[in-house]
Structure formats: C-alpha cells, structure tokens
Symmetry: D2
Subunit: 349 residues, 4 copies
C-alpha cells in the first residue's frame, strides 16, 4: 500500500482524486489538506463522498507530512505548487503536480506565458510531462510528474498522430475547444452561476490560451520541428467534458483510411485511447467518456478543400486532470495502469 | 408619457423591468440606479439590453429623484426598500415595490416571519398587494403597490379558486414548488454555479418558506377564514420558470368538470390566466410561459383518494416579479393592461 | 464466476446493467439480446461501453439460453417479461426482472393497476420484491426477484421509517417526485427531445401513478395496516436522478432529533442508505448520488403546522433500476453486497 | 394590413413566425397549414401560443389560398418548397421561402450540394437572398425571397467585413459553429432526446456542411473573388442560439482597432447588428440575443500568430430563420424594419 496525501483537496480536481483513490486497491489516503476547511469532514465539501473517508481536512504544514505520505498529489493553484514541490522531493516523496508549474521545459517559455521567472528551472528539466501516451517510459520511477492541462490534453491527443507524419506542411493549427463548466472550478464567480452559464456558448481567452505553450512543446517534440497551435476555448452548457476540434489543411489528398491508419498506429496499445468511426456515432463526443479516463479520438475530411479536422473528447476532470494523474501514478509505481480507473463511462450523464 | 425610475437596476428583476419598459409605449425611463455600477453603461450588466438605453446607471440619491420620475420601481433587497418608500410617497411619486417590505397587512405577522418590527405599520395598511387577479379595483390609482413574491404568486394562483369554494374542509395545503435558478438572483453564490446547480433537484427552506405568510394572508381573505399553507421549494435545473403543485384532499368526490368550472369562473376575464387541459399538454409547464406574464393553471384528480393537485406555472421573473409589477403599474395608471407585455412566450426556450 | 445473460440490452436499464457487470468480479456476461440490434456490436448502441465487451447483441431465443446463463436479467417492457420468466425458472435459472410484472403480490391489485389478469398468479407469490432494505433475508437464494420501480423506490425509502412508527395517524401521503429524463428511456418520443424537455417542469400521470401500487403494498407490510399514497411525478430538466418529497402531517409535535432517530434506527447497517443532515447540504439532492447505488434520506419539519417532509434521492438508473438489481443479485448469490457498486457518486455531474 | 399565410406552421420555424406575426401591427394571419394537424388548434402544437390565434391549422391546397394571402411564408422541408413557390408567384403573391430551395444562384452549385437538377433555374436568378445587411436594396419590392440558413447566416455575418478587405490573402476559412438543439427541429429523432443531447458536444456533417454553398456564394460576391469556407457544426447543450467562430490568418499584423474599424464601417447603420467588445463581455454569446433578431459580432486577435477569429452570435430561430424572414418581409413591404422584432433579448434564458 502506497500512502498518499492530497494537498488542496477541496476543489473539483482534489475531489476527483479522492473519488478515484477511494476505490484504488493499492493506496491508502493518509492526509487531505484544505486551508479553508481544516478540521471539517470531507463530505461537507464533497457530498458525493459521504461514507468514503473517515478523516477530516487538515491544514497544510510541510513538516507534518513527513512520514505520512509516499506520494503527494498537489492540487493547488498555479504558482503555489512550486513553493512546496522542491521540499517534498527533498524529503523523498514522489510529487504529482496538477498545476502548470512544472509542465514547461524551457524557463524562457515559462516566463513568456506565465509572466514570472521560474524559481526552480532545474526542476523543470527533471519533471516528466504526465501524458502516458507520449512519455510512458520516462514515467516509470518518475519522482516529479507534471500532470497536463485539460485543454492541452485534448489538443495534443487530437494532433499528435498528425504532426508525427507529413500530412500537413502548413503550421496553422486551430484547436477550437468546447469546455464544460467544471473546468472553471468549484468556486462561484461572476458569469459562472447557472443562470448565466446554462445555455451559453461563450469564447474566452481567445487571444491566446496558456495551454498552447505545453501543447506546442509536446507537439514539437513529436514533429521534430517547431509546431505552433492556437487554442481557442469556448464555454458551453455542459458540466463535464471537453472537445478539441483541431482544424488543419492537408498538403495533399488523403483518404479516411490513410488518416485512420496513422491514428491507429500512433495509439496502438494505448489503454485509454479509443478511435471513433462509423455511421451511428461518427465522431467523438465527450458525453460518452464522462466519468472515465478515456480520450476518444476521431476525424473528418472535407475532400473538396483538403481540410482535416481531428477531434478529441475527454472528461476534463479525468483524462484532463485527476484520471490522467492517477494513470501516471500507476505507471510510475508499477501498478496496473488502469487501477482505480476501470469504471466505464456513465451514460446517459 | 409617464417618467419612470428603476431603483436597483442591476439584478435580474431590475433587468427584466428594463427589458419590458424598453418596449412600453407610455413610458420614458429617466433614471436607473445601482450603487455598484454607477456611471457604467446598462449593457455592461445586462448585455441583452445593448442598444436599448443611452443612459448610464446612477448612484441613488433620494433628493435627485425629485422631478425625474412619476413612478419609482424599487427592485431592492428586503428591508432596504422600506427606507425609501415613505419619502418617495411623500414627494408625490407612485411607488411599486418588488421586495417583501409592504406585502403583509399585519405588523405582527410581518415581525413573526421577518424578525423585526416593521417601522411603517401605517404604510402596510395603505399598500395594495399587486396581484391584479385579486385586487384589480384597489390597484386603480394605487400609490403604493407591493408586488408579490414569485413562489407566493404561483401558490396563490393555484389555490385561490379552491379556497373560494367548499371543495375541501381540510386546512392542509402543500404547495410543492419547483423553481429555476434565476430566482436566486444575479450574484454568484456557493451552490449556484452551473456545475453545482445544473442537474440538481434540491429542496431549500423546507422548514417553512416566508412566502407562506403572504399566501396565507391572501388565501384567507378569499376563503373568509384562516388558511394555512406549507410552501416547500425545490431548486431544479431550469433557468426561468416556477411550478406550484398544490396538493390537497377534497371533502367529497368532485369531477374534472366540477373543478374546471370553479377555476374558469374564478378567473373569467383575467388577461394573463390560461386554463390548461387536454390530452397532449394536460398540465401547465412553466416552459410554455417563458418570457411572458401568463400564469397557466391546471389540475389533476386522483379519484380513488379524492386527492386534488392544483398546478400553476409562471415565469418567475415575469408574472413572478417584473411582469406582474408592470401589469399593476398599467392598471394603476389607466394604461392598457397588457401594454409592454404582449410578446407571446418563447418556445422552445 | 456466475454466467449472466441480459435480455433486452439496448435500453438505458440494459446499458446500465452492462456498465456495472463489466466491473463485477464474480460475473461473466455470456449473452446480451436485442431484437432490433441483433448482430450489431454493443458499443453501437452504448458508445460509452466501447472496448468493454467483445460479444455482439443476439436475437433472443429461449432455447438457446440453455447452458449460457446461471442468472438472467430481464430488462424488458411491462407485460413482456412475464412471457419468459416461467420458462427460464423452469430451466433452473435465476431470474431478476426489472419490469413491473412480478412486483405485486395480489393478482387483484395487479389487475386493477395494469388492466389485465396476471397469467402467473403463483409466481407473484414466489417472487421477492428486490429491495434489500426491506427483504434482505428473503433475497438470499431467491430464484425470482422483482426489482422495484424507480419512483416506488424513492417513495418507499422516504416513507418506510415513518409508517413503521406512530408519527402520523393521517393516511394522507403525497410523494411529489421530480424525475430526470433518463427515466423516459432511450427511445425518442414527442416531448422528450432536448428542445422540449430541457427547462421543463412538467407533471405527468398526475391522476394516479402505477408505482403507487407497489409502494402501498410495501409500506402497508411495514405499517401493519393499509397505507395509501399518492405519487405525483414531475419531469424536470436533469438527466439522472429522482427526488421524492413525501409530505405528511404528524399526529403531534416531534423534534428533528425524534425523526432522525427513527430514520437512523430503521436503516441501521444498510449499506446503501445515507442519512443527510447539516447546514451546508441540509437535504438530499440526487445530484450527489449520480452513478452510485446510494439512496440519500433526509427530512424537514415545519413546526408551526406539524408538517413533515421526508426526502429520498436516488439515481433512477442505479438504486432505481440496475444498481438495485445488482445489489439483490449479489445478496442472493452470496457475493459481497457492494460488488460492482463501489464507485463513489460522480461530482459534479 | 397585409394578409399572411404560413405554409408548414407546425415546426419550430413555423411556430416562431406565428409568435412574431402575433404582435406585428401591419399583418393579419389568415391561414396556417399543417398536413398532420389540419383541423386542430394551433396551441395544440404550440402551447406557448394559447390565446393568440383563433384559427385552426388547415390542410394545404394551393387553390384555396387564392384570395387569402398577399404574402406566403413557406416553412417547409428542402425540395418541398420548390413545388409551391412558382404557382404562388404566378398567382401574384409574395413568397418568402425559409428552405434552401431558392438560395443558390447557380444551378450547377445547387446540383452539386443538393444532388438534383433544380427544376426552376430561372427562379434562382429572380430570388433575393434575404439577408438585409447585404441585399437591402434588392429586397425592396422583392417577390421571391430566399431566407438564409442559420449556420450560413452566422458564418456570413462573421466573415463579411473581413473578405471585403485585404486582411487575409489566405483562402482558408474555418467556421466552427456551435449550435443549439432547436436547430434540429421539433420532431424527435435518435440522438435528439434530452438524455442523449443534454451535456453533448457533438460534431456533425463535419465532412462538409451544405450551408457552405450559400456562404461561399455571398462571401464571394463581397470579396469580388472566389471564397472557400469550411463550416463544421457541433451540437451543444443549449436550446436556442448559434455561434460561429470563424478562424483565419491575417496577411500581416493588424491591431484590434484596425479590425474594429473594418467591422464598424461594414455594418454602419444596420439595425440588427451589434458589435461586441470590452472587458466584462469581450465576445459575443448567443445567450444574450435569445428571442431577438440581433447578430452580435466580435473578434479576437492572437498577435504572436496573426490569427484572427471572428465571432457571430445569433438566435438560430430568429436571425437564423423566422426573425430574418420577417425583417426581409418588412423591408420588401415598406414597413418599419423592426416591426414585430422590437422585444429585447431575454435574459437570463
């Protein structure tokens, strides 16, 4: 049994980690922290988890973690995780960080997108980008895992099989992402209340979304050359799920079978990738991965224009956050890759 | 042209008043106040109204209202309206208050439900409860109108035709109300964000809802005896609309036709009451009154138990708030009763 | 390993059974039938299950089932199950029927509510009503289990602790139920499409809902006297979940603690009952049981009127259908009661 | 008073026409046809319209229309309208067709996208594409108006100001459209029921959407050269509203002010265009045009890539169908352009 601490357990990502860890057979959750709810029962914040945990939220103190945990999940805001990770690593613990703090390899790129000098550039080099479809080998025994962002995950998984080939010579990728309200987190904000958000179709951060930085980093590695991608997110009226529609133009005419082969080959053997085709459900829809760690990948070709759209559907809290973090955790700890992640998607939901 | 001021114009009720007043042909809106948004354009808060008003929000100052308005709509929180109404009335203006401050006739009842001594018990006597189906004659020339609460409106309109007869001798009325998220107002709160509120079916204030006070007052007048009613509201996953399912037991067997006649007689000639029966749409559904001032009234009898359920469906921001206030305003100013309220319900919505 | 067949596997209940059976460690699914989709892959109908089953839908033929199954789940329309159950039982299989065909003990009551003579009155006596909170002992080794209806489940679980005591002497119970769209099944119908159903608050079958028959049967057993209950369902704008608000008047003043004790005592040790109280989430909300087999039970007292409302929140496809069937299956087969049902509720969803 | 007939009055577009015509002061509706509902009251199909019409649906017979109507709105399926329009024109009536039958000027293009020879190529030349922002002058006195498709409307209005300039020299326009469930019409279909459609983010017709044909036609006229555009629609979980996110790359760096000027100039004086900018609501959202005829236009520039996204938000049943048809009707009949279309958007909705 690995002892696990969840630091920042009161948000949606923290709650989702707790939901998954509750049924993970190789794990004991020893510590769940929340500054705001210290001393309160976990089910006060996560009513779904009533009956699953008999510990309360603790206040966080790095010294007390000491012998409590083998692995620490950091489910904290950007620029907060970076204050804790170095010490925890030093103390010998594995750190799985769900913020953006350790995702970018290049400190210059980090500074450009996040506006500050990164205080631990060395750790950027040591961290592993926690996307098992790309970094399976590096994840084994990884001590610092930077779990990817949700819109980045959707975008990368849509485009990875394409940039790895010569299907396009155009460096103009638009990932038009449609995201659900749970991406905005558990705290109420202007514009996020039900009456304003239900029925909305609302672009945001449309002049440049930060997840483009990590998507470009990962896609460039695959392509072996600099890839540029625009991510344009839109808030739509769902609770869970994100769809990337990644549009591009092909350098010549390719058939559906050509593309299908590229995708199938790229993702061969990947446990949480499903390739979607057919007449009834021709394209991925995040509705059909809800509650699971799957990424459903599909595509459409408009022949008259050589336009290709790659689609990638994920549950933003699962493959887009907590589920992928558990998947990386499993690999790095030599557990079965699907442990804790076996429940099929919920339908209808 | 009547000059109109809307005090507290940044919430949903204020916004709905402005939406209706924008197409009211006998009205000029001269002043819209908001402490928070003073100096800002109205469309900043109400993006739907972009292009309809070329005045900005003002800060509120009772002295400056002076010659600006003939009628003042108070769209303020409970216990705030009561600070302004007396002075405005003294200055000769008509006051239409959408809060609960002047709805109850009896200062003792007010104190019981709202927890404080009412500072202006005389005004309680002078105010007219702004439900035209019950107080049409009193509304003519009314100077102080207390516009009813949404759940009270749904409950009263469901039960009024019943308590006016001898259909039941049981004083046990349950108004199980299902309400939409716009009832909660425009300010974000815990539990009201989309991710927590969508898909919810959530009872609240279930130990006694304040609107029972005004419902009991009005139903008792109609019945000629003391009526008691429980209102149990439930937040459901809609944006607009409220349904009261008012359950009761009949003192003997009555047929559908018996009940239909009572209802039809009670509401004969009322402009915004529609009686719903038939096979395709047998019962009222607030979905089909959205954006309109209609209350759709219907009922169901379970013969084996002599159980009767009266249904009343309203748009909570229209017949449940701003629409009914405009209707009372029209009557009191001798305008056409439907002026500003003619647009049919939106469907689908 | 128990071999299991799912007869009628293309609807929502069938799909939910398959979703749960996919992770049940004591089960092998050997046969899934569908007249309409025979020969087609299961994921064609249930895209969420892509990758979980490598058998196709079969056409149903009672003779071929023979050695294929130890237990047969019948997920068929009312009055269809009854044609298969007797033969399957005769062949030695366990039958778990999710229709209404074997729920009522009294053939007269069956005839009154379902309009036909029951062709197998003997089986009515032998079947066990599959609600483990009431019939745990009888379920052990049961050969024919009649799994309860969703609205009946919500109503019974809300009222059982009350009718077992002398809290009320009034035989007037109103179970005002709010139900989600998945209760209507997977087939499109007039009024069920998204544009008509989203935002709806729509009473249906309000003159007497059939689930009252089984609720009255079970509550009367508990009460030791004839109980009458009205069930009035309302379609609301959720996908999963049902809430019963069961209203009644108490014979005298009882405190919250009095009622809490009755409920806690009645449900002591029950694995899938959670009692809800507190300030943050004072009442049950089906949103927080989604994807799980829990029934969350709570209540509210309006002291001035001695009115008590019991609340019961379930996921209609889980505790209201497939989950409860699996729970009964586990008990009857001596498996762990929670096997296949351990995943915590999904939140937000 | 113009006498108006609505042919095909039972669908959503027909219902929306009737909703608008009910408050149009220059119109008398003399005939509403429906094959399926002939003889039935209009409110049977459109419960929102109860009380607004005292005529029933009629069966359609071209001979009986004779003296009944000056203008005929055809709200019929594609390839059905074309059977009626020629005769009605011959009889001297004005025809406003909401199908795709008369939108394309070039019979070859029609054949390519719709798969048949157009039987009335001459009428294609005579018809006016009913988008007042582009064809105001031609609409005056127009006898045959082809009202645009909803996704085409959103796409054209987003891109028109851009193709009229030299902002891009790339002929690669992607209009990624997010559409609401009311676009699918009032008839239930597989995949459109609430349980399957709520929470969905589902691409469809992604290999080439037919509305591209009319969008290319209109944009090419404006550009003075052949424009190609891909339209990729996605069904999202709203009831009303469509957003086009039209992505393109600029030929050089342009500032926000540059683009704003182009858009403002292009749409100067247009009654139903609103240009959206600012901090609080920086981009258009169809939520804020619901129930109105507005198209809200906005944009975002990603400077590092010279990527420009044009946004256009409409209510698909209003500016995308019935509202735009009424607007064209008003212009062609010399009525006030906004008659029947003055109600501000509903919010929240």
């Amino acid at each position: 049994m690995v002892k696990v601490a969840v630091i920042g357990g009161s948000g949606y990502t923290g709650g989702e980690l707790l939901r998954l860890l509750a049924i993970h057979r190789d794990v004991e959750v020893t510590l769940v922290t929340s500054r705001e709810y210290a001393g309160k029962p976990i089910s006060l914040v996560h009513p779904n988890l009533k009956g699953f945990y008999n510990i309360n939220f603790s206040d966080f103190s790095i010294d007390k973690i000491g012998n409590k945990a083998d692995t620490v999940f950091l489910s904290l805001p950007h620029k907060v995780s970076m204050n804790y990770a170095p010490k925890l690593l030093e103390m010998g613990m594995q750190v799985i960080d769900l913020s953006a703090d350790f995702r970018l390899k290049d400190p210059e790129v980090y500074k450009k997108w996040y506006g500050i000098e990164h205080p631990y550039p060395d750790l950027l080099k040591k961290s592993v980008y926690g996307m098992p479809e790309l970094h399976y080998e590096e994840l084994k025994n990884a001590k610092l895992i930077a779990s990817p962002g949700c819109n980045a995950t959707a975008t990368i998984l849509a485009l990875a099989p394409i940039v790895s080939s010569n299907i396009t010579d155009d460096n103009r990728f638009i990932s038009d992402v449609k995201v659900s309200s749970s991406e905005g987190g558990a705290k109420p904000k202007e514009g996020s209340q039900h009456s304003e958000r239900a029925n909305a179709i609302r672009p945001y951060e449309a002049t440049g979304h930060r997840h483009a930085a990590e998507a470009e980093q990962e896609l460039s590695i695959i392509a072996g050359k600099q890839i540029k991608v625009s991510i344009v997110p839109h808030a739509v009226s769902s609770i869970r799920g994100a769809l990337s529609s990644a549009h591009l133009w092909m350098s010549q005419s390719y058939s559906e079978m050509d593309i299908w082969k590229k995708v199938a080959e790229f993702y061969r053997g990947k446990k949480f990738i499903r390739i979607i085709r057919g007449n009834v459900h021709p394209y991925p829809d995040p509705k059909y991965v809800i509650g699971s760690n799957f990424a459903d990948i599909g595509f459409a070709i408009e022949e008259r224009l050589n336009r290709l759209t790659m689609f990638s559907a994920i549950d933003n809290l699962m493959k887009g956050a907590a589920g992928q973090a558990i998947q990386s955790f499993n690999i790095s700890n030599k557990f079965e890759e699907e442990e804790g992640l076996k429940t099929p998607p919920l339908r209808p939901a």
